[in-house]
Subunit: 217 residues, 2 copies
DNA sequence: CCGATCCATGACGAACCGTCAACTTTTGAC
DNA sequence: GTCAAAAGTTGACGGTTCGTCATGGATCGG
């Protein structure tokens, strides 16, 4: 295709210098935003705080994002886009309802405990208030889950239940339990996934009893 | 004008005029805030928007609330303080796990469908983003639920499970299902509560099948 | 080497923030 | 009824952030 004669730049420079610095700047701003949001909380940070944490000028921010809200969305969307294929792949390996549920919870909890920074629900700086924002790509992940449930119903793997409500139940448990898991000293993703799976498969009476030391890890 | 001679003002004037207008102003500001938040969404409203919707001057706002965040908190806390005693009372009537779960979901869903305005999760104005904020009194309600579960375990009504996780699961399902219920045309609090209760009692296989028209109401 | 294009820069006007001195109303004492 | 102290309201003010835009420097294609 193009060139050549001699070797093209080793890599990554398939893009011109222009495209390169643009990508760098965007990355620098996102990085700074992650840090500032984590430190000050969403409500307290300003666009100026973010840009001050980079080497760029204030006007430059607006070449990349429209507002504080949009960059926050970009950060969350990025995380959602990273996790969704993993969830979907695990679910599609499932042959039974139990495998489907187990895979969903285990994958989710493992990712969020491993990469806490990205998934920790943003907490308002000082006070006890908690906040959660679902961006478009996160919500698209919810819809994917519902589609997978519906497809399971169509194939006879799931009983013909209300897929919308079941999706909501799974999402609600996943996010709310995440909040509790991250608050604990021993973050045991597997134990949490076992708890949630048992609840969804057999109800409260099937839940592992606290204090038991199950054979597993 | 005020006359007197005869009966004291029929009621409510047990308080001096000062206390009276203070209560009125606070109420007027809260009322205006509810309206503005509902119209513009939390992120887009300013303290000035709220005070403009009253007859008061801008400085007066700060005699009652420190910030936009604090008045939002006050609104949510008010709702939480109203709903918590009802939830607790219903739960305490329960003699079995099933009654406990059923009462929790049914009471919650009935209240939120009846008084949608107060409980609808605040949505960011135009876009698809969703947001939820838990204020201290809401969180205190979570803790109450956990205490009730723990007390149930102590009395032998509940099996000895992880009360923290179960509380999180119930809360997560309640809030996330609320979001779906309010999006539907026919808001059936009972059907939703039956779904959630069946899930928690027997797991997915016990869920009512979609399309069934159960005998009950 | 040159003109065209792209983009970073930082200054600017507008909007909002939270405060505060001045003013009005209420209260309680005489 | 009168008056001084206390409480509370008012809107203007300095300070900060917002989003824009004219300017200028760097990159690109030729």
């Amino acid at each position: 295709m193009d060139t050549t004669l001699i070797a093209p730049k080793p890599r990554a420079a398939a893009l011109g210098k222009r495209e390169q610095t643009k990508a760098q700047n965007r990355q620098m701003i996102l990085e700074a935003a992650r840090g500032v949001f984590a430190e000050l909380g969403y409500g307290a940070t300003t666009v100026r705080d973010i840009i001050r944490a980079t080497t760029l000028a204030s006007g430059t921010f607006y070449n990349y994002f429209k507002s504080k809200e949009e960059i926050y969305q970009a950060i969350r969307d990025e995380a959602a886009l990273a996790i969704r294929p993993q969830l979907r792949a695990e679910r599609q390996k499932a042959a039974t309802v139990e495998e489907f549920i187990q895979a969903t919870f285990r994958t989710f909890f493992e990712i969020v405990t491993r990469d806490e920074v990205n998934f920790r629900t943003i907490r308002h700086s000082a006070d006890a208030t908690r906040m959660r924002m679902d961006t478009p790509e996160v919500i698209a992940g919810f819809e994917e889950l519902r589609e997978d449930i519906e497809s399971g119903i169509a194939r006879g793997v799931f009983p013909p239940i209300d897929a919308d409500y079941l999706m909501a139940a799974i999402v609600g448990v996943a996010f709310e339990m995440t909040e509790r898991i991250l608050r604990r000293e021993n973050r045991d993703a597997k134990a949490a996934a076992d708890f949630a799976t048992a609840l969804f498969m057999g109800g409260i009476r099937a839940l592992p009893h606290a204090g038991e030391t199950p054979g597993g890890a």
